[in-house]
Amino acid sequence: MSDPLVLTPEQEALADSVGRYCADHCTEEVQRAGSDAFPLPFWRGLAELGVLGLTSPSEGGGAGEVCAVAMELGRACAPGPWEGTVFAARTLPDAVASAVASGSRLVSFGSPPLMPWAPLAGVFVETDGVQAWLARPAGEVTPEETLGNEPWGRVALERVVPLDRVREATDLSHVALAGYLWGAGRRVLDTAAEHARTREQFGRPIGSFQAVAHPLVNAGLGLEAAHKLVLLAARALDGAHCQASGLAAAARLSAGRAATEAAFVAHQTLGAMGYSVEGPVGHIAQRIRHLSVVPAHAHGTGEQVLTMYAGSGRT
């Protein structure tokens, strides 16, 4: 590998603008908004930055751009159907895709009956991980509160039309989720490390105890590795490398595992402060654990990774 594994200057600039927007607008209130109070103005602001339509064929945003944005959204613990939006913008017919890109319709993306964001969604996309369909509800949506504070719902779907570009959209959605999880994991670990530096017990900062320090280090190593893997997967996708799909799937699984570990370590470091609702890590840890669960439509992700060993990935 002769190139350093970093974002391009253009991707960095995109990440900066999203990061600045989130710093100003993704307030604690926005991050913690209950499922009955989705912060639509925040989401529409992302649309104005071009984030929601990034992957539409006309925009031509690639995995590198998705990755750059995703990491910032994760760090900010930004709410919204990010993974589904990335998938939908790439696959949906233009008219529907533009409603998604403008933030006027939210996407519910998954396999029924339990669908993410269903109570608020204006567009339903069903997938089994291989194929996908634009769909519509065939009945009422029954809302479900969830661990990660996302409004989900149970609903039967009726398939309307099969969608194209499913493989590449799936790869991009893996990178979208992986980047988000990495960013969120980095944030909880940074918070925990700061706590370990400043919280004193037994007359010294708790970070000076190896039982506290080493788990933080190990979780950090996991995140570093996941970070490189997400960047590598993005580059492989944008360069149409034969193992790109496998790398994207691996990035999703690795980032999920690393972020989950970071959240767990943050909880042990912060003690009871970690599980108070108003505390600094609880809401992020819940979102991480939520997003790290492999949904039914992504059950092929592990096998996708195996294609790298067989050397039979996408060309």
Binding site: L147, A211, V212, H267, Q268, A272, Y275, A285, V293, A296
Partner: protein, 380 residues
């Protein structure tokens, strides 16, 4: 050491199971999900009186204080069956497991006569005033002051993460009667009625189930000398013993094993149990639950023989944490998205397992104690 239950214990368990089947048939939600919720606590208030009526709230206490004069094992059988059902005694498990036993061991006759019978009748709730903002794991750094004042003490300070304080009648409170430099030698235990003027309780929302924590503020709270437990400045010895009871007081493995059974049913109906990876995970989680059960039994065996609390309690506690975490991970892995719905087994067990390694002494502290007391390694 013999772990077969004798016929009397087995018969007791059968009676208890029948009783619980009847009493919990109506009005009791599947409450491994709701420990500490208002609904749960309300149910508990009625239930513990019924239990007390049968003599099963404090069967292990001496008869003259309202107990049944039974042994440690019967007490433990009781705890297991309760936790399997999601602990319908609610916050009462603290009273019967360690508040009462501490009073029996260290209390004056007057304290025993006035404070024990209401517990035995199921009429009162106690909470535990230990942690403070600057004294969590390092409990001996606590700063709440108790200064002699006439025939009593004046208390000033703050407690935090105090479970059930919002509904409790009394607090088993630690305060400093010596100087901070005295460390653990300057701490005393007070049996504080929470309706004393100057006590203010403010809830803190938590996301471990519906359980809420509290801050307890003490401003010029006067407590009579008759509410000091044991000797002044000797509170740490009481706490050490109390914590040994608390660590294994809640047989959390019984709840984890119950959740595991539910997950196995869930997986079986969906044809997931054929997967060798899933089987292995179930096997490992079950083994951890069973290991925790046996390590807890070893501690109860010591207690039944009236031995001093030993570091085996720390081993048992650590094993319970491992079991709860394994079941939590399994729930999310096996159930996938279905685990994310609030109130599902996956969601509930994940929340429970997060708290497991922190409440009643962090997992890391258990490991440190095992390192020193069992492996005999030098202190860091």
């Amino acid at each position: 050491m013999e772990f077969a239950f004798d016929e009397a214990d087995a018969a007791f368990r059968r009676d208890l199971v029948d009783f619980l089947d009847r009493e919990l048939a109506d009005g009791w939600e599947r409450s491994e999900f709701g420990l500490g919720s208002a609904v749960h606590t309300d149910f508990s208030r009625k239930f513990v009186r019924t239990l007390a009526g049968r003599g099963w709230l404090t069967p292990h206490w001496p008869e003259r204080y309202g107990g049944g004069g039974q042994g440690a094992w019967q007490h433990f059988v009781l705890g297991e069956e309760m936790w399997k059902r999601g602990e319908p005694r609610g916050p009462q498990y603290m009273n019967v497991n360690w508040v009462g036993p501490s009073l029996i061991k260290y209390g004056t006759e007057e304290q025993k006569r006035t404070l024990l019978p209401p517990i035995a009748r199921g009429e009162v709730f106690w909470c535990q005033g230990f942690s403070e903002p600057e004294a969590g794991t390092d409990l001996a750094a606590l700063r709440t002051r108790a200064v002699r004042d006439g025939d009593g003490y004046l208390l000033n300070g703050q407690k935090i993460w105090t479970s059930y304080a919002d509904g409790a009648d009394h607090c088993f409170l630690l305060a400093r009667t010596g100087t901070v430099a005295d460390g653990r030698r300057g701490i005393s235990v007070f049996l504080l009625p929470l309706d004393t003027p100057g006590v203010e309780v403010r809830p803190i929302d938590g996301f471990v189930g519906d359980h809420s924590f509290n801050e307890v503020f003490l401003k010029d709270v006067w407590v009579p000398r008759s509410r000091l437990l044991g000797e002044e400045n000797k509170g740490w010895d009481i706490v050490r013993r109390t914590l040994a009871y608390e660590r294994v007081g809640a047989p959390r493995y019984a709840r984890a094993a119950l959740v595991l059974d539910g997950l196995a049913d869930w997986s079986r109906t969906r044809g997931l149990l054929h997967d060798p990876g899933v089987q292995e995970q179930f096997g490992e989680a079950r083994a951890l639950c069973e290991a925790a059960r046996l390590l807890v039994y070893r501690v109860i065996d010591e207690r039944a023989k009236d031995k001093e609390p030993s570091p085996r309690a720390n081993q048992a506690r650590a094993a319970m944490v491992q079991a709860e975490r394994a079941v939590g991970d399994l729930a999310l892995d096996v159930m996938g998205s279905e685990a994310l719905a609030e109130g599902s087994r996956g969601d509930a067990q994940f929340r429970n397992s997060l708290g497991a390694g922190i409440a009643a002494g962090s997992y890391e502290v258990q490991l440190n104690l095992i390192t020193r007391l069992i492996l005999k390694l030098p202190k860091e």
